[in-house]
Symmetry: C2
Subunit: 298 residues, 2 copies
Amino acid sequence: MNFRDLEYFVQLVKDRNYTKTAQAFNISQPTITYAIKRLENELKVQLFIRDQSHHQLDLTLAGQEFNDHAQNILQELTTAKADLLALSQQKIRFGLPPIIGTYYFPQLAKVLIKENIMSHLQTIEGGSATLQEKLSTGELDVALLGAISPLKLKNIKTLPLVRTDFKVIVSPDHPLKNKQSINFAALKNESFIALKEGFVHPAAFRQLTTANHFQPQIVYTTPDINVLKGMVHENVGISLLSELALNNEQEVHAIDLADQDQPHFEIVLAYRPQVNPLIDKLINALSQPVDQFPFPGK
Amino acid sequence: MNFRDLEYFVQLVKDRNYTKTAQAFNISQPTITYAIKRLENELKVQLFIRDQSHHQLDLTLAGQEFNDHAQNILQELTTAKADLLALSQQKIRFGLPPIIGTYYFPQLAKVLIKENIMSHLQTIEGGSATLQEKLSTGELDVALLGAISPLKLKNIKTLPLVRTDFKVIVSPDHPLKNKQSINFAALKNESFIALKEGFVHPAAFRQLTTANHFQPQIVYTTPDINVLKGMVHENVGISLLSELALNNEQEVHAIDLADQDQPHFEIVLAYRPQVNPLIDKLINALSQPVDQFPFPGK
DNA sequence: TGTTATGATAAAATATATTTATATGATAAA
DNA sequence: TTTATCATATAAATATATTTTATCATAACA
């Protein structure tokens, strides 16, 4: 059996049209016919139903079943090639969500430079969800991911690194400015500035509003944390922000959440197990506890 | 790329000898040479280190990495073929550990016969660990497994069906015969009959003795539950047995475990997701709650 | 120093995949 | 109903890939 035949098959499942599939590969139509026949002979099952009302090509059950396996096989081969390329180029394809890249990763950089790993990193930015997907498909070797609940991913190992709290941030002019701690329920009537971040902040915010049965009044949404802080400072509204993104500047006042069941921003190291000493070294370096957190001097 | 080349490669990794590998496939030695060259050309990496003056063939890092992927690919293909065969024969390869087969499965049989599934089952007996392995390699479609902790298996879905307690069983002549409930720690000085079952009973027993810091005195070990009951009846010793294996016979007296952190015998339905209506039907039927448990009339 | 083990290479033989040209069969259009 | 069109199948020719046979190269071994 040939990988090419699997590619033809998978494409044909998408196209449902031999001629179109042949065109997609720039080959002649009978090539597809013969490829499918080869598969059907080798597997001893019929893969397609050649069409009662002849404008429709249908997959048999066996065809559906085999399509799943064929996709897994092609995925594995793609991943294998990508991994070998990264290995030979001594590059680690490293996924980093913007927030973690800005507020957490810099602390790790020192160690990585000292261990001579930094120059081997090929950093790819993206939201945690996107990066998870890329890990699974072999487009990434290692990633730092933000999460509010433990991650379980097929073929991916995860290692929680840090767990940080979410804080409520308010303007120094806000009535709550002297509060040390507050229940989220008490914020029912506040105006909120929302952070349009990949996944974690919106999910945490949603979790808190749902758990406390209220529909928050969101007056503004921004993807930029500094804009968000600025608006909170100007008392346009209050917001929810990971303590990760707070340093000891005085621009906004941070209040602890007193809720029992509150979400946490967890930074998780996720990677596909590979035979690659460089990756082992990176994972080892990253899983060492960081001295100071969240920030030196905080 | 060709699956055959992958097979040659994987075998060569095992053999570390081109001639031997060729013999294993009943082909000529240059065939292996050319197959490896094809792979190395296509992947653009060196897979083997040819013999640095010692008659030894070594895998490069890339070779090790690719070997993992090649094995996954071949595994997936094997599974695909097995699944298609089972599908076309309308057979569900169904794993059943002896204890569950004897003491739990009969209750399900009625439903399965009514739903016309029973005749499609090809039952394969084995310990829970063996059956797990066979699920992963595509030798089984569905299995009932015994477990004392939640199972997490790659590519396998699990669904807990029943959770039963372990009981301490003693002879009607035993001093403890009138006890309703007991802490396992109180059994420190008892003689035990041990059940040599696949996995769950020994693990549960070990968990209890370890948690209570004693080394049990095991006077006899048997794989046969009736023998075990007989010996307990004759007061040779006491034993630990899942309530699953107890019916309302008066041969032995069952005592509840009072321990806070006690193991439980969980029956878990485990299966590889497939495109197979028959399997869906079985899973659906098995996941319906069973009316009476553990036994009618208990 | 010859002998053996192990793998590489060239050329030929064989097997497999693809194309070109054409056929079939079913629907839609005239 | 005829004809045109679409979608796939088939046969034969061709192109490509794999395997074998025969032979060579190299290093270990005795």
